[in-house]
């Protein structure tokens, strides 16, 4: 390419004050390949751009260097101008002689020399530039949401309300997640069920939402805009099309004493059941592990009593395939179970709290079920051991969290607030009771949060004791809590009726296997990693996959809902175009030279590099080479610098271009 035009901007006086622009233009005219050079007061102004367009036409320019401000400022402006003049926009480059020259040097001679050098480098670069065409990828405007808790529900409703199809996959028999289990929510104390269940019904009634409950992700293929998802629908043993949700089967089931997981084992359920009365869908599922029919074949009562004949013992697991363009992962959290000490895990147990051994030592979620109006006790707070109303309740915060030695170094974020809430709920129900809280710090950042915590102390008279609990033991029918008040500096002992532990929040079991299927990264705790902690907090590094809720890190409901809506907005942005257009700064593999070592694949943070098989006409495999999926590549160029055979090239930053620039030194 040898017809380059150089346009030097005065930027008012910002450049011309220290750089002799005329001299630079003069020097540019002497450079190899430069056909035309000029200087102008304001290149970015309308007359400046017209001048540029005219020069392109008049001098049949094949490349442009605009020597002006930083490309971060006006690259887009001048590339658009170049395009309007009929040039490929990627044949226009900017030489930064303002931020990197005129503004930072005061010697006119030196600055002019440097500006000339910069222009020279860019001229050489442009000579090696190639025309680049923006990459387009078709977009399937259908979203997959994994997880039917409040995060998944919010994202699903937002996307569906925007008019796009949504596929919602939930592992449990009902959507609702943890929020459906909660009693009242901080900091407003409104009833969780009351705000949650209408949203659940909205989901099931929404014409744009396809709901798969009791289902899991089997495999994920494809890339942004074009994912293919295989979903395993577990055998429910009840035909959802026929079932009316009358509930007769559940009444008649002879198995009645199965601990109810939804009620944290405080109550019981039959073998054919819905997890809770407001479940969505309201279709029972048979727990084949506990069902007599499945254990020894000697029952079948539910099938007999079912009017519509919906019970189907023969039903099998089913695989279905859904095509989607974007994925929102919203798999949520679980509470750290301190009674168990998982084998091979760095996480250690907490024997000193007696959880699992002392019946009146419970976790926070169990307390939620006790306090919930729709819970197993109808909202009456009683001790699991003897059903008596506890008069002294001790809450312990940070159980498992913020304990490096125990394997979890992070703060679980919600415990301070929900414990404050628990003390209030307790005080509202047991007026003559006294709540005590052992805490290390009170972390209450959030709107009206600190005020809420202070209210628990100042108005609801919870006694907060700063200091961690050392040990909990049974003494008669009391549970003795040994702690310390570090403000007073003495030991504290409380004979409690009930002890509630605010245990740590962890990602759901299987979060890592799902991440591997999706090709997204996760941290050492299995929380999913966002692309950028500040600027891209809801996107995965893998294009087209977004995060919502506690699967990314401990989070409360307001944050979860915000993030879910943000993820939905990202999906909607993606769906706003039929074709996905991306800047063509992507890597390409020269298959002729590629030796298939796949070093590039190892360093690619985006999973953009795939293996490609090269076959002859008979279909025999000749060799394997790397292939960069342009839809996924982000254009960092790490693969190119890594490639030992120099067979990957990053468009826009090729070795040729860089070397040409260095030649001018």
């Amino acid at each position: 390419m040898s017809r380059i035009g150089v346009f030097i901007c005065h930027c008012g006086e910002n450049i011309s004050r220290t750089v002799d622009v005329e001299q630079v233009a003069q020097a540019a005219r002497q450079m190899v390949g430069v056909t035309y050079a000029c200087d102008y007061k304001y290149m970015c102004s309308d007359p400046g751009q017209t001048l540029l367009k005219k020069a392109v036409a008049e001098h049949r320019l094949e490349g442009i260097v605009v020597a002006a401000c930083s490309p971060r400022m006006h690259e887009k402006t001048f590339r658009n101008a170049a395009q309007a003049a009929g040039l490929n926009p990627f044949l226009c480059e900017m030489a930064n002689i303002r931020e990197h020259c005129s503004w930072v040097h005061d010697d006119r001679v030196e600055a002019t020399a440097k500006a000339t050098d910069i222009v020279h480098m860019l001229v050489e670069r442009v000579r090696k530039n190639k025309k680049l065409i923006p990459i387009t990828v078709p977009v399937t405007k259908r979203a997959l949401i994994i997880g039917g808790g409040i995060a998944g529900i919010q994202a699903a409703l937002d996307i569906a309300d925007c008019g796009h199809q949504v596929v919602l996959v939930e592992r449990e028999p009902s959507i609702g997640g943890h929020m459906a289990m909660l009693s009242e929510t901080f900091p407003t104390l409104d009833c969780s069920q009351c705000i949650m269940t209408p949203r659940m019904v909205d989901v099931v009634n929404h014409p744009k939402i396809t709901l798969h409950t009791y289902s899991e992700i089997e495999s994920v293929d494809g890339y942004i805009g074009n994912f293919s998802i295989t979903i395993k629908k577990k055998a429910r043993s009840v035909d959802m099309a026929k079932c009316t949700g009358c509930g007769v089967c559940m009444e008649k089931c002879p198995q009645k004493k199965i601990p109810n997981e939804f009620d944290k084992n405080l109550g019981f359920r039959p073998a054919i059941y819905v997890p809770f009365p407001q479940a969505v869908p309201n279709t029972p599922v048979i727990d084949r592990e506990h069902c007599t029919k499945f254990i020894n074949g000697k029952c079948g009562v539910c099938q007999k009593v079912c009017g519509p004949g919906a019970v189907d013992y023969e039903q099998q697991d089913e695989l279905i395939v859904e095509q989607v363009g974007a994925i929102v992962v919203a798999t949520g959290f679980k509470l750290y179970d301190i009674t168990e000490k998982p084998k091979g895990s760095a996480i250690k147990g907490y024997g000193e709290f007696g959880h699992g051994k002392i019946p009146d030592v419970i976790d926070g979620l169990t307390f939620e079920r006790l306090a919930s109006a729709s819970g197993p006790t109808g909202g009456k707070i009683i001790r699991p051991s003897d059903g008596k109303e506890p008069k002294q309740v001790v809450f312990v915060q940070c159980v498992g969290s913020r304990a490096r030695e125990k394997g979890i170094s992070y703060c679980s974020k919600v415990c301070c607030m929900y414990t404050a809430k628990h003390t209030m709920l307790y005080k509202h129900k047991v007026h003559d009771g006294q709540a005590y809280v052992f805490f290390m710090d009170a972390r209450t950042p959030g709107k009206s949060y600190d005020e809420f915590w202070r209210r628990a102390i100042e108005e609801e008279e919870a006694v907060y004791i700063r200091g961690m609990v050392s040990r909990v033991y049974q003494k008669g029918d009391k549970v003795v809590v040994m702690g310390s008040d570090i403000a007073v500096g003495v030991q504290v002992e409380i004979e409690a009726d009930l002890v509630v532990l605010a245990t740590a929040i962890q990602p759901r079991d299987g979060a890592d296997t799902l991440a591997q299927k999706l090709g997204i990264s996760y941290d050492k705790y299995n929380f999913y990693s966002e692309a950028h902690a500040k600027l891209r907090p809801v996107e995965c590094a893998t294009a087209g996959i977004y995060l919502a809720g506690a699967c990314q890190g401990p989070k409360d409901i307001p944050d979860t809902v915000s993030q879910a809506s943000a993820a939905a907005a990202k999906v909607m942005t993606l769906f706003s175009k039929d074709q996905l257009e991306r800047e063509p700064i992507v890597a390409r593999v020269n298959e002729k030279f590629c030796v298939g070592c796949l070093a590039c694949k190892k360093v690619c943070a985006y999973g953009a590099v795939e293996e490609k098989e090269i076959r002859d006409r008979q279909g025999n495999l000749i060799r394997v080479v790397a292939y960069v999926n342009p839809g996924v590549c982000s254009g960092c160029g790490t693969c190119q610098a890594t490639c030992p055979s120099k067979s990957v090239e990053l468009d826009g930053y090729t070795d040729e271009q860089v070397m040409a620039m260095l030649e001018t030194l």
């Binding site: 440097k114 910069i118 360093v603 160029g637 890594t642 990053l650 030649e663 030194l665």
Partner: protein, 161 residues
């Protein structure tokens, strides 16, 4: 000229952090020596060690490689790959006899205009005190102009051809 020797410094920078940091130094009107020439890359991960050799060969007296702070990479891990790559590369440079003080690595974020100025100024002064790098340019001159093969073995091979 204020000094006898004005070194030539080449800076390889990533576009997201250090290039933006240098822009900030400009918008804040900070002053620094004009010896530096900036070559922009999307990420320090893109920087091939060959570029550094090339720059030295073409007369650079000092080289600066600068990108995002660890953990802040726009492309997540490009700067880590770069860091690892250059750790190895320094050994090579040492082997061929280039003073490692001529090659500097740093992290400059988009908010650190002052740090950019500091680093460039210090490097320029350091290289100035070290004097010009002649190994490569001398070699270049020999190759192009002398035509003489000093090594007898090479000469034998040459004659054969």
């Amino acid at each position: 000229m204020k000094h006898d020797f004005e070194p030539k410094i080449v800076a390889f920078v990533c576009t997201w952090c250090t290039y933006a940091g240098a822009d900030l130094a400009g918008t804040s009107r900070m002053l620094y020596p004009s010896n530096v020439r900036v070559v922009k890359f999307p990420c320090t991960g893109r920087i091939d060690p060959v570029f550094i050799l090339k720059a030295f060969q073409k007369g650079a007296d000092g080289i600066l490689v600068s990108g995002c702070h660890p953990g802040d990479c726009h492309y997540m891990a490009g700067n880590f790959h770069a860091r690892r790559r250059f750790a190895v590369f320094r050994k090579l440079l040492e082997f061929i006899g280039v003073d490692l003080n001529r090659l500097e690595f740093s992290w400059v974020s988009a908010a650190e205009g002052g740090k950019w100025v500091e680093i460039v100024t210090e490097l320029t002064e350091k290289i100035r005190s070290m004097g010009p790098l002649t190994q490569f340019t001398d070699l270049n001159d020999e190759e192009q102009w002398s035509g003489a093969l000093s090594n007898p073995e090479l000469k034998a091979v040459y004659d054969q051809v």
